[in-house]
């Protein structure tokens, strides 16, 4: 056995493993090096170094009772557990723990779809249910609801939402934690708790009303370490009649400010789903050597220089794809309204129609949709970005997501582009830059996400990405921005930037942690929250 949790004796570890085997069956406890290696984070920036965060073993229950038995045994022997649902959190830590030597509690086998109601619009699922599974179920039963999926469809509704994951349709559904309703949790003492209306025996509305009565505690289980979620409800969107997208382009750098305000209005009043911003001028760099030279000049180009270049070539600075869902009539009218509103306000703005679909779609029609998640179809095509291709003949072995939240304004986009680009340039990383547009999954904020390269064979690449990551977190904090989610290697650093009033929030969380999980057995370090006996080892 290569790895033992720190401070745990071999005798205790072996005794716990014996109890885990008794609970779930020998076949579902993994202790061989070969099996445990499959829990490594495939995108770890610490791959193959002494700092890599490794599991000591894994145990895979099939029922809630088995989860309880595992938690009780872990408490008895003080074994740190790290729960995963489908374990596909690559870029944010994969299936590896925050605390080296933890036993991964792999919930993949608990994969039952317990209920889907297409009249009230919800699903109740277990942790191992992947987006692909729920989609198939809905299709087979011809239910009239859509799932809001993250880009990769192989992840789970529960794991994704518990990491505050995000998707692609309407704002209310894109926030996957925000659109959950009701949880069942195995607490660190092995007890089962249901939240919201689920606390009412015989409740008829567990998946309809979130808050029940009293404080709303669900938030503790997202990016937290207060329990193991064994069931969760999610609200689903009704299948609309039609989808139409339309593209709006604006010529100048500073037009992004008015553009974002209009698009925010359209979105917050409920007329559009996710807006997709991009930069035609940024894309033009590939074929415009003069533009590349301008961008690469010492100190970078001014906004006026870029505007002059764009005007001379007829290339707009910014574009946004607006996505309309609903009855065919109102979708068309809403697109017309958006054109009128933006056209009257931003000189030089131009418009073109995008895709148009009617639902339900045939299999052939679905196959022809490029961004399937925009119409609620889980897919894996996002890996087109990053996979080996003619343009990318030497792909990396993954990436670290740096995902800072900035305000939903054009000013914040322009400011953060330059602030982050400076750091990336300093470290020689080919990410971000002055044409970067925000990810817009989160309803009320932007995320200026970049993927920093990692390698399983070249430790220098990893060292550079880690150093850049550390620096960019600091730069973000200086500007009042911080990450919404983090790979375990940086969880302490990120948590450290949320330091208002001498870390009052973290101190509060850790007070709760001590009360709820005194032995610190659940996901130590997740969310930057450590049990008392491990606080000295904090990385930040």
């Amino acid at each position: 056995m290569a790895t033992l949790p720190a401070g745990v004796s071999a005798a205790d570890f072996n005794a716990a493993i014996t109890k885990f085997k008794a609970a779930v069956g020998e076949k579902h406890v993994f202790t061989s090096d070969e099996d445990v290696a499959l829990y490594r984070d495939a995108y770890s920036p610490m791959w193959g170094t002494p700092q890599e965060l490794l599991a000591s073993a894994a145990v895979a229950p099939d029922t809630v009772e088995q989860v309880q038995a595992i938690v009780r045994a872990a408490n008895e022997h003080k074994i740190p557990l790290y729960p995963i649902s489908t374990g596909k959190n690559v870029g944010y830590g994969g299936s590896a723990p925050n605390l080296h030597g933890s036993v991964v509690l792999d919930l993949k086998r608990m994969n039952r779809i317990l209920e889907v109601d297409d009249r009230r619009g919800f699903a109740l699922v277990e942790p191992g249910v992947a987006y692909f599974d729920l989609y198939r179920h809905i299709q087979e039963k011809k239910l009239k609801v859509w799932i809001d999926c993250p880009d990769p469809g192989w992840g789970s509704l529960i794991g994704n939402s518990l990491d505050h994951g995000v998707g692609y349709t309407f704002g209310a559904f894109r926030d996957h934690f925000g659109s959950h309703c009701g949880m069942e949790v195995v607490l660190p003492n092995g007890e089962i708790m249901r939240t919201g209306m689920g606390a009412l025996p015989g409740a008829k509305s567990w998946q309809d009303y979130k808050y029940g009565f009293g404080p709303y505690v669900d938030g503790l289980f997202g990016q937290g370490n207060f329990g193991i979620v064994t069931k969760m409800g999610f609200w689903l969107m009704p299948e609309p009649e039609a989808y139409q997208s339309g593209y709006v382009s604006v010529p100048k750098r500073h037009d992004i400010i008015a553009l974002v305000d209009h698009v925010n209005y359209l979105e917050h009043i409920g007329l559009i789903g996710q807006p997709n911003y991009s930069s035609p001028l940024g894309r033009a760099q590939r074929n415009e050597p003069d533009l590349r030279a301008l961008v690469g000049k010492a100190g970078g180009p001014s906004d006026e220089e870029l505007d002059r270049f764009g005007a001379a070539k007829g290339i707009p600075s910014w574009e946004v794809e607006l996505q309309f869902y609903g009855p065919a009539k109102t979708v068309a009218a809403n697109w017309e309204y958006a054109r009128e509103r933006i056209g009257a306000s931003i000189p030089g703005s131009t418009f073109r129609d995008g895709h148009s679909y009617r639902f339900p779609m045939t299999d052939e029609q679905k196959a022809a949709v490029e961004h399937k998640v925009a119409v609620g179809i889980p897919a894996m095509s996002i890996f087109s970005i990053g996979a080996r291709s003619e343009l990318n003949p030497s792909p990396t072995d993954g990436h670290l997501w740096f995902a800072p939240i900035i305000p939903k304004t054009g000013e914040a986009i322009l400011e953060s582009q330059r602030a982050f680009a400076k750091v990336y340039q300093e470290f020689g990383l080919n990410v971000g830059g002055i044409f970067q547009t925000p990810a817009t999954w989160i309803y009320r904020a932007f995320v200026m996400i970049v993927g920093m390269p990692v390698s399983r064979s070249n430790k220098e690449i990893n060292a550079k990405s880690m150093a850049a990551f550390k620096r960019v977190v600091e730069v973000a904090a200086e500007h009042g921005w911080a990450e919404y989610r983090s790979p375990p290697a940086f969880a302490d650093l990120v948590a450290d930037s949320y330091s208002y009033n001498d870390h009052a929030l973290r101190r509060f969380n850790e007070q709760l942690k001590d009360a709820v999980d005194p032995n610190g057995i659940i996901a130590a370090g997740r969310g930057g929250i450590w049990p008392r006996h491990l606080r000295g080892g904090r990385k930040a």
Binding site: A368, S381, F383, S384
Partner: protein
């Protein structure tokens, strides 16, 4: 039960090597095809990719790697061996991570390998 049936199929497969796939082998291949479609075809199946990519990422990658020497779609290949298939599933490659045994267990991996090597000249 499942174990015994599979063992039986394996025996039958061995007994008929060199002939058309035996029923046991055929069943394993059919099972492998189902598993392949579930676990692999999201990237390695036919279909379009994102950002204008004409193929899904797995096919794009293998086309770029082999430059037409072998088909870009794994299920059309005739040069794969079971060991080769298993190596990539358990070790991953570039941005493709490896798969845990709770996702694809060893028997299921054998079935996927059987499916992908069903037309292989070297087995």
């Amino acid at each position: 039960m499942k174990m015994r049936v599979l063992a039986l199929f394996a025996l039958m497969g061995i007994a008929t090597t060199g002939f058309a796939a035996a029923p046991g082998k055929a069943q394993q291949i059919a099972e492998g095809e189902k598993l392949y479609k579930y676990w692999c075809s999201g990237c390695h199946g036919p279909g379009i990719g994102q950002n204008g990519a004409p193929y899904l990422p797995g096919e794009t990658a293998l086309r770029a790697k082999y430059k037409g020497a072998v088909p870009g779609l794994l299920h059309e290949r005739t040069d794969l061996t079971p060991e080769f298939v298993k190596l990539f599933v358990r070790q991953g490659i570039t941005i493709m991570p490896f798969f845990r045994k709770t996702e694809i267990d060893d028997q299921q991996l054998d079935a996927i390998a059987a499916y992908l090597t069903r037309n292989s000249k070297t087995k």
